[in-house]
């Protein structure tokens, strides 16, 4: 997964990657060459007292070191550029791909998860790519180069490498292996303690009302204790890490001196080579350390890559038609023809054989208990989902034959959760019609019963709206969302439980104001409150995904049992009949 993601999105940058490899190679070799130059200074300069040689070799060392810094900076330049471009490209691909999703795919992965995948997961993979270009490439070069150079200095001591490297790997590996489950447990326990805290803060009224502060404190103390224990365990392992590495490295140096001393004595090795060998051993051990650390990062990146790939591979279930039909001057008649809808993985369909027609110039209301499929029904019209059976038609044309953009331009939707975007009040209303004039915006606000509170807001139309609309009340949010739908005069309006947060008086005023505006249009209203819909031209009663009645309030109240049940639960008998 990680590899295929890398292959795909790094391909455009093969040239730059080649440059990174080359520069990194030169830089690493240059830094490997330095100890052997130092050995030369000692062997051929210091021991022989040759000042001229010391100076000239020093000059060479400086030149090599300059070459090293230039190539290393070059490698960082191309490495950082490529890694960041990779991240940018993956993010853009993800974002653009998610835009093609229907509500089904969004629901399948979940909005919060999609957000994390586009931001944090890409970040993770990008960091690994960056680390690869800066460190991971260097480690093998350094390892191989270090071994080669060390062998060149003295083959007789090379058995030390065979001993020291595995010792280091085993020591570090043992600590890391014991640390990894600790890290996982730590993450889980941090989540747990945060969960307890979150519950305590959100439920503070209930906790205090029931005098349960002490119970909650005990619960928190337990979580805190759990977290403390695991962090202490991990902390103690970490405490062991650095001293252990230093001990191995230092003891290795001593071994080189001892065994090297014997080889020097026997004349098999020069003393300068001994110091160089020590330096190379350091390089090798450092490379081993780096590789071990990086191997810890890769699994996390692999998980992130998998999550990214999952999104990229998911194809939208709502496909645009190959040859779309164009509607000339659409009237907006919406017809449901034996529509059945079953969510993937669900045992039973949410909607079964739903048939009715909503005609222009009138209101069609949909009522039914929660879970009866009302929202699903509304979402089928703009093809947020596609029905699994039957067809939805607008002016007699199957909506699956309409161009998606054209279909959407017919519909003014007010979703159940009236989401607002960050920006101003006007920005939000203009979302429905980008070129709307101020007059048009005010007219829409007026109809939506939002004009009065917008006027009272600081800045009026320019008053800021926070992301999601969290800085206005639920009722205000609903009314702004309604204004957004109304501003771009459309043939079909869908109100999904859009009046629930309004008081009765506002609800009523709004419905009255809608009358002239929707005289030409088809209006479909989903509602919980009988009062909201009793003057609708047509009421569709849903129960468990089936249409159990269609008619006016009076007709249904007379003969429809489900409708009666709903009405009586909300109004007393005489109020309902009045």
């Amino acid at each position: 997964m990680l590899m295929s993601l890398l292959r795909r999105y790094l391909r455009p940058y093969l040239g730059a990657i080649g440059a990174v490899v080359l520069l990194q190679l030169v830089a690493t070799l240059a830094s490997l060459y330095l100890p052997s130059l130092n050995a030369k200074i000692i062997d051929d300069g210091v021991t022989k007292g040759d000042t001229g040689f010391i100076m000239s070799t020093g000059g060479v060392m400086l030149a090599v070191s300059l070459l090293q810094v230039v190539t290393a900076v070059g490698a960082v330049y191309y490495g950082a550029r490529t890694a960041m471009r990779f991240g940018r490209d993956v993010r853009r691909a993800l974002f653009a791909h998610v835009q093609t999703f229907s509500a089904r795919e969004v629901g399948q992965i979940g909005t919060p998860s999609l957000i994390t995948r586009t931001t944090n997961d890409v970040q993770q993979v990008q960091m690994v790519v960056l680390m690869t270009f800066t460190i991971m490439l260097m480690a093998p070069i350094m390892l191989v180069g270090g071994v080669v150079m060390a062998l060149q200095e003295d083959v007789g001591l090379s058995w030390l490498l065979v001993v020291v490297v595995p010792v280091l790997v085993v020591c570090v590996g043992l600590i890391i292996i014991r640390m990894v489950p600790g890290f996982r447990a730590m993450q889980r326990r941090i989540d747990a303690i945060n969960g307890v805290m979150r519950e305590q803060i959100t439920g503070i009224r209930v906790i205090r009302a029931f005098v349960r502060e002490r119970t909650e404190s005990e619960r928190f103390a337990r979580s805190n204790r759990d977290l403390y224990e695991v962090t202490l365990r991990v902390g103690r392992l970490m405490a062991l890490m650095f001293p252990t590495v230093m001990l191995v490295v230092n003891l290795a140096t001593l071994a080189v001196l001892w065994f090297g001393g014997h080889r020097v004595e026997s004349g098999a090795m020069q003393i300068g080579s001994l110091t160089a060998f020590m330096s190379y051993l350091m390089y090798i051990l450092m490379a081993v350390m780096m590789s071990t650390m990086i191997f810890m990062m890769v699994p996390r990146a692999a998980v992130a890559a998998e999550r990214i790939q999952e999104v990229l591979r998911l194809e939208s279930s709502v496909a645009p038609p190959p040859s779309p039909v164009t509607l000339e001057s659409p009237a907006g008649e919406v017809a449901f023809d034996t529509v059945t809808m079953q969510y993937p993985g669900a045992e039973r369909p949410v909607l079964t054989d739903v048939s009715f027609t909503a005609r222009p110039g009138g209101t069609t209301a949909i009522i039914g208990s929660t879970g009866s499929g009302k929202t699903t029904l509304v979402n089928l019209v703009p093809r947020l989902f596609d029905a699994t059976g039957g067809a939805v038609r607008i002016d007699g044309v199957d909506i699956r034959d309409l161009d998606l953009q054209a279909l959407w331009s017919l519909i003014g939707l007010v979703p159940q959760k009236p989401y607002l975007f960050s920006g101003s009040v006007a920005d939000n209303v203009r979302y429905g019609k980008p070129d709307a004039t101020d007059e048009e915006v005010w007219a829409a606000l007026e109809t939506a019963q939002a004009a009065s509170f917008v006027r009272e807001m600081d800045g009026g139309l320019d008053a800021p709206i926070a992301q999601g609309g969290t800085n206005v009340s639920g009722g205000q949010r609903q009314r702004l969302a309604i204004a957004r739908a109304l501003v771009g005069a459309r043939p079909v309006y869908l109100f999904d439980d859009s009046f629930s947060a309004l008081d009765y008086a506002t609800d009523r005023a709004l419905r009255e104001a809608l009358v002239p505006l929707t005289r030409e249009a088809t209006v479909i209203i989903v509602a919980q409150r009988v009062a909201t819909i009793r003057d609708a031209q047509q009421i569709v009663v849903l129960d468990d995904g089936r249409v159990v009645g269609v008619g006016t309030h009076t007709e249904l109240l007379e003969r429809n049992e489900t409708y009666q049940e709903i009405v009586y639960s909300q109004l007393s008998a005489e109020e309902a009949a009045a």
């Binding site: 960082v76 062991l240 208990s369 979302y431």
Partner: protein, 663 residues
């Protein structure tokens, strides 16, 4: 009228700014820019105070750190002696080969000098222990190496112990800090929580403490070790050769200059990168959350375009930030190499001149390598330390927040209450110059139901907040069975008042545990009895795991109505004398709604009840209906009396049913 029906359990008239709070960009992304603490010194001192219970351990950490650093610092010096031994052996052998046996070192040196090789003669002359003809003295070498082994093992042991104790002290301190914060939360008035976003408070007790824990782990002992190492190494360097030390020191200003220059250039890029990440994340969040709207209103192309712009900016900033900061390492490496060359050249010349031994140069080179590392570390720790102290400050601010008034020292004992509740000339305001409730007087007889109606912002929820002493009255008093509620402890008061809010709070746990929350010592049978009385038993039995069903985050396995029923069962089990019911307004499933109403009236039976009503049809049989407007009671009476009066209640009643009854 434009009042909203949706009324949350928060004070109605808080200033907008206080409610919206700070809304950070979505997700930390690459981490937040380093925040500068307000009072670095003061906060550090205060934080160190948190370590007081561990002062012996802290002392041990310091001592061990010193020992460990000293040992690791003398290591190379002793090791240098080993190199000298080897070198002397080599030279001794050389002399043995060049000169006849029996020649002393002095004779050999003189001979070499006379042959014109004055430098070599100087060098050998400076050696301590050259025996002509004898090779490397392996016995001496072994002794030196064994000594070094002891030094290194000692350094390992002390270093490890020091880090281990540090881990303990850090985790203990963090544990106790978390406990302090939690205890503090229990003493904070509700006013505090209403003013802050829950996310803000949560972030202090979680993210900030986490950050503090990490900062401490990484700096507490490291800082000491690094500073000690710098001092120790510097000392050793001067001890070996002050000339070389001065030469090596020349590169320090250079490296400081280079680091600060690079840091100065990368800092603004990092800030740009963070800001851009924040903007991009919140854009992604917004576009994904409003996904269906983006599509239906045809804004996809525009969304992608805006995203691409921000994405490009992020790329630009993060590339520059990574590149500029990425150059630090190679550049510092170059400075280190420069240092290496200078030391090698100057040291080589000195060895050749006989003023310095080869082993000393070797040791010196090692020291100078050890020297640059802790300096870079101290620099990077400074950043970490700043963000840690900023976190500590936020935690301290929470610990310093004003607490609620303590309970009376000599509280009135409260038996099982009869249930008479009197609001006596009560006035209250959330914001000093905006009176919310003024001179309100109200009496509720035992067993009676008092329904409170009125538009949003009328003060209905506030009344409940005052009764529960979530907020304290500014003037007047509230009495229960004739006792001023401030004369009893909060626990005693609340133990007698049950509450069902429309905000159905359930915690992660089984259904059984959630109901038992009402009375912790209730038996399973009592829980089931309460559940049966409040229509909970029926749907719980339909769940595959019954009462053992675990309610997960937000209890998504239950409908809104069922959650409401659970909270009613909880209050039923608590069996309080006085009851506060906040009627649900959210779109509860119509059939469950009927059950909720039945359950609520079962709960009300025989108790003094305050019902905040939204639907007038449910409160017609209340003993008293109170109509509130702008903090005053404008009308009071039974349903029939108020309808006849044709006042405020009648108008409200009309507006709810007019739509339904006049076509």
């Amino acid at each position: 009228m434009s009042g909203d029906k949706h009324e949350k359990a928060v004070p109605e008239r808080l200033p907008e700014a206080a409610r919206s709070g700070r809304r950070g960009p979505g997700g930390p992304g690459l981490g937040a820019p380093v925040e500068k603490p307000l009072d670095f010194k003061g906060s550090v001192t205060r934080f160190l105070g948190q370590l007081r219970p561990h002062r012996l351990r802290v002392a041990a950490i310091l001592v061990f750190a010193v020992v460990s650093v000293v040992l690791s610092v003398i290591g190379p010096r002793v090791l240098g002696r080993a190199t000298d031994l080897i070198f002397e052996g080599v030279v001794g052998k050389l002399i043995g080969e060049r000169f006849p046996a029996g020649t002393t070192t002095d004779q050999a040196v003189a001979a070499i000098r006379s042959s014109g090789d004055g430098k070599l003669a100087d060098m050998i002359g400076a050696m301590k222990d050259v025996v002509p003809g004898r090779g490397i003295d392996f016995t001496a070498l072994r002794d030196v190496l064994l000594l070094v082994v002891a030094v290194y093992v000692g350094s390992f042991l002390f270093g490890w112990l020091q880090a281990r104790i540090t881990a303990y002290v850090v985790q203990r301190t963090i544990y106790s800090l978390r406990q302090q914060v939690e205890e503090k939360l229990n003493r904070l008035p509700l006013r505090y929580f209403d003013k802050q976003q829950p996310g803000e408070v949560l972030s202090r007790v979680t993210n900030d403490i986490d950050n503090l824990s990490q900062t401490m782990t990484q700096t507490l002992s490291q800082l000491v070790v690094s500073v000690l190492t710098v001092v120790g190494v510097l000392g050793m360097m001067f001890w070996i050769s002050w000339v070389l030390a001065l030469v090596a020191l020349v590169t320090i200003p250079l490296s400081i200059y280079l680091t600060t220059t690079i840091a100065k250039r990368s800092q603004p890029q990092f800030i740009k990168q963070w800001a851009s990440t924040g903007r991009l994340n919140s854009q992604v969040e917004e576009m994904y959350t409003g996904h269906e709207l983006v599509k239906v209103y045809g804004h996809q192309d525009q969304a992608v375009e805006t995203f691409t712009q921000e994405n490009d900016q992020l790329y630009d900033a993060s590339f520059k930030a990574q590149f500029v900061s990425g150059t630090i390492q190679p550049v510092m490496g170059f400075v280190a190499n420069l240092n290496y060359v200078i030391v090698a050249v100057v040291g080589g010349l000195q060895v050749a001149g006989g003023t310095l031994s080869l082993g000393s140069v070797q040791a010196f080179i090692q020291y100078s390598r050890q020297f640059s590392q802790p300096i870079t570390q101290i620099a990077s720790m400074m950043n970490l330390l700043q963000s840690g102290v900023a976190s500590a400050e936020r935690v301290f601010a929470l610990l310093d927040a004003d607490e609620q008034e303590p309970d009376p020292v000599d509280p009135q004992a409260v038996e099982k209450m009869g249930g008479t509740v009197v609001f006596d000339d009560v006035s209250f305001r959330y914001v000093p110059d905006k009176p919310l409730i003024e001179n309100l007087t109200l009496t509720a007889e035992p067993g009676h139901t008092v329904a409170i109606v009125g538009p949003t912002g009328a003060g209905k929820t506030t009344l409940v907040n005052l009764l529960m002493r979530f907020y304290e009255v500014d003037e007047g008093r509230i009495t229960l069975d004739g006792v001023d509620s401030r004369a009893m402890t909060r626990d005693a008061l609340r133990g007698n008042v049950g509450m069902v809010l429309q905000d159905t709070w359930l915690f992660k746990g089984t259904i059984m545990e959630n109901i038992r929350y009402g009375r912790l010592d209730a038996t399973d049978d009592e829980v089931v009895a309460a559940a049966t009385a409040t229509y909970v038993d029926r749907f719980v039995r339909a769940l595959p795991e019954g009462y053992d069903t675990v309610l997960d985050d937000g209890a998504q396995n239950l409908s809104a109505g069922e959650k409401q029923l659970l909270t009613i069962a909880r209050a039923f089990l608590a069996d309080p004398a006085i009851l506060v019911l906040d009627e649900a307004t959210s779109s509860v499933d119509t059939r469950t709604e009927v059950l909720v109403q039945h359950a609520m009236s079962a709960l009300r039976h025989g108790r003094t009840s305050f019902v905040i009503a939204h639907r007038l049809s449910t409160i017609r049989d209340a003993d008293t209906i109170i109509v509130m407007e702008r903090g005053h009671i404008v009308e009071q009476g039974t349903h029939d009396e108020l309808v006849v009066r044709e006042g405020a209640y009648y108008r409200l009643y009309q507006s709810q049913f007019a739509a339904a009854s006049t076509e």
